[in-house]
């Protein structure tokens, strides 16, 4: 059933979409924001070790629901299986108002200037990174994004102290909030880093260290990454741009509404979207502009599901680039066992980082920021972090956990991945979701050079721990399977050439006048850092431009 036309419909209330919605609403546009998941309040934080966005032993609290939302995963041997959200291979992030930003760890990194020009930086120096890869420069630079990084830092709210990071790109303003006081781990690792001549500093975080934006400071609980914040000190789109945009009266947020397809006319432009509401009723929302922001896997799926005579293979997919180059981050690092107690139970845990190994590593095309881990909840510890030589059960297991739990520091980092054309999202020809919509099918592998870089960064994490006094160190190594998950990106690449990209430098789908993709899908490469601040900056940039140049009714 068609509804009255609006100026713009934004699909997905995660990190990016709400920022565009806010920019448009502030410019007087009438905007509808459609979100598949629910609205949660701080009271829904449910600090549950077995059911959170990082540990779905008993399911995901912030979406998707376990039933009715399958995907298909194809492993390295070509075996395919239908996976539910909590099963390996699903590559989940989150489905709710705020998307990943409701429950994330909230590290707020700017990418390095060289992260935007990987080809220029490495083509001559590391040719093997370009074999069977789609490693490229972005059509925009760090300088193009700098003002929008700043806007995200001040408007969403970032604490930390990056003045000690000599590797960052130029910035005009410092961060708006100081860092939280250091933890015991922070102090131990800081000494170790200095001993090695490295440059440690306080991680920038989208978290209030002091009252900000009318909300209180962090109370430093143990349950941060993977959980919502019960005192609302963690800053996401759900407690910043969304309420601000709603307050203009120009935005309508509709939750539990899943978009099936973008509706297209004969000229190849969008006329609106078709979506199912919470009761399974199908609606048509006409709009002058359609802004896609469903996360890298679902945005690709939505474009592929939006077909017309002009786009028989899906919107924006004339040259078969939609869904390609799926990437995340290859997390590797090391765990160090210490003689003394290193754990002081002060959340969020992650606090200190070094960027010495982001670029300039011998013979390698890239690297990773390295940081200490968020607090390891007890079950997470025994299932993942414990010494692989320690007994898994029995009397000795108990002895080990009793002694080691508060004496282990994990250090790790997101190795920047070398994108691969065949790591991709397609539509599964058979499997459908609860609404009958074809689901995402995920297949591919990691580039061998990604593994090589991640091995190097893991060794550097081990060095750092040893220099900090660890008496025993063991590595966390990379798998070879396709990557995506919480840091999924790359599936609707930004570029100047419509033959080798999906959107232009302003996030407009090449073939159209009025369809934009604004989330992590547009990343050409995914940086050597967690992605969300870059996602936000790109959204501010695209949103401001659209508000200025778009034609309203």
């Amino acid at each position: 059933m068609p509804l009255p036309e609006v100026d713009a419909v934004v699909i997905g209330a995660g990190a990016a979409g709400p920022i565009v919605a806010k920019e448009l609403a502030f410019a007087g546009w009438r905007v509808v924001l459609l979100e598949k998941g629910r609205w949660n309040t701080p009271a829904d934080c449910r600090k549950d070790d077995l059911r959170n966005q990082r540990n779905p032993t008993l399911g995901y609290p912030f979406g998707p629901e376990e039933e009715g939302n399958p995907r298909v995963f194809v492993d390295l041997n070509g075996r395919e299986r239908i996976v539910k959200p909590s099963q390996p291979g699903y590559n989940n992030n989150a489905f709710c108002v705020g998307g990943g930003t409701l429950s994330y760890g909230a590290m707020a990194w700017r990418y390095h200037p060289n992260d935007f020009r990987m080809r220029s930086t490495y083509a001559a120096k590391v040719p093997r990174a370009f074999e069977n890869s789609t490693l490229e420069d972005w059509p925009i630079s760090y300088d193009d994004l700098e003002p929008y990084y700043e806007k995200a830092e001040w408007e969403i709210g970032v604490s930390g102290d990056v003045s000690g990071d000599p590797f960052q790109g130029p910035r005009r303003r410092p961060l708006p909030m100081p860092p939280l006081p250091p933890t015991r781990e922070h102090e131990i690792l800081e000494k170790g880093a200095r001993r090695l001549g490295l440059h440690p500093f306080s991680i920038p975080m989208l978290r209030n260290s002091v009252p900000y934006n009318g909300r209180p400071a962090c109370m430093r609980c143990r349950w941060c990454v993977g959980f919502a914040c019960e005192v609302d000190a963690k800053n996401g789109t759900q407690n910043t741009v969304i309420p601000a945009a709603l307050a203009t009266g120009n935005l309508e947020l509709r939750t539990q509404c899943a978009v099936r397809e973008i509706l297209l006319n004969d000229r190849g432009n969008a006329t609106g979207v078709a979506y199912f509401d919470r009761d399974g009723r199908l609606w048509e929302q006409p709009a002058r502009y359609v802004v896609v922001s469903c996360g890298a896997i679902e945005s690709a799926r939505l474009l592929l599901n939006s077909r017309s005579r002009l786009y028989p293979q899906g919107l924006g997919n004339r040259h078969d680039w939609v869904g390609r180059n799926l990437q995340g981050h290859t997390y590797t690092g090391a765990n160090g066992l210490f003689e003394e107690i290193v754990y002081d139970d002060l959340g969020p845990g992650a606090s200190i980082a070094i960027c010495d190994y982001v670029h300039g590593n011998p013979g390698l095309a890239g690297g990773a920021m390295l940081a200490n881990e968020f607090i390891r909840l007890p079950y997470q510890f025994v299932s993942g972090i414990r010494d692989p030589e320690a007994p898994r059960w029995g009397r000795a297991h108990k002895e080990f956990v009793r002694r080691a739990y508060r004496r282990i520091i994990p250090v790790q980092g997101p190795t920047q991945e070398i994108p691969v054309f065949d790591s991709r999202v397609t539509l599964d020809p058979r499997v459908r979701d609860r609404f009958g919509i074809p689901v995402a099918r995920i297949s591919g592998y990691r580039h061998p050079h990604t593994i090589e870089i991640s091995e190097y960064t893991a060794q550097r994490a081990a060095d750092w721990l040893r220099a900090s006094g660890a008496v025993k160190v063991w590595l966390r190594r990379a798998g070879r399977g396709v990557s995506g998950g919480q840091h999924q990106a790359g599936t609707c690449r930004m570029g100047n050439d419509p033959k080798t990209s999906v959107v232009d430098a302003w996030c407009r789908v090449h073939d159209t006048d009025n369809v934009y993709v604004v989330d992590a899908s547009v990343h050409v490469t995914n940086g050597a850092y967690n992605p969300v601040l870059t996602i936000m900056a790109i959204a501010y940039r695209a949103g401001q431009r659209l508000a200025k140049e778009g034609r309203r009714a």
Binding site: L58, R222, E230, D345, Y379, W393, K398, Y405
Partner: protein
């Protein structure tokens, strides 16, 4: 309940349990207490791990119902054929030996066609979840594991409450 669908011969659960029979409660209790035995801190059984598994077998782990039913019956019969007593009646050392064989896939194939590996891993994962996870799911009774490793229990919302909880005695 739907859990019982297709299982008309479903035996009666033990009093206070939802799925496991009395005999199964005892066998599983001995099993998880071998994985996490009581010492100066509670073992898995006292910490409510059997309850955690029982509850989840009617919820999130419904798909594992028949695996549990089978594994618990078979480990018991294997124990009888080895030692003339049910698994729950064996001393810790004997139980440890049997679980080690299963871990290595070397249990009696008459009872475990894969040598016991799959059942071992299943119960191990669930035992660790129940023991170290959140008490709201029936395990980790009285914050047993969190006390054992020396981390304070759940904060009540609000900073003062949390500070109060932090006085939890620091273990070394």
């Amino acid at each position: 309940m739907a859990a019982a669908a297709g299982c008309a011969r479903r035996p009666a659960p033990a009093a206070g349990y939802r799925f496991l029979t009395q005999a199964e409660v005892e066998t599983l209790g001995a099993w998880v207490d071998t994985l996490i035995p009581p010492d100066e801190d509670p073992g898995a059984r006292d910490a409510g791990v059997v309850r955690y598994i029982d509850l989840q077998l009617t919820r999130w782990f419904r798909r594992h119902q028949s695996e549990y039913r089978e594994a618990l019956a078979h480990i018991d019969r294997w124990a009888r054929s080895r030692a003339g007593r049910g698994f729950a009646g064996l001393p810790l050392d004997a139980r440890e030996e049997m679980l080690s064989l299963m871990e290595q896939g070397e249990a009696d194939r008459a009872w475990f066609p894969d040598g016991g590996k799959a059942a071992f891993e299943l119960v191990l994962a669930h035992a660790m979840q129940g023991f170290y996870g959140n008490p709201r799911h029936g395990g980790n009774r009285g914050y047993a594991s969190w006390k054992m490793i020396g981390v304070p229990p759940m904060p009540v919302r609000g900073r003062e409450h949390y500070e109060a909880e932090r006085t939890f005695p620091e273990k070394t």
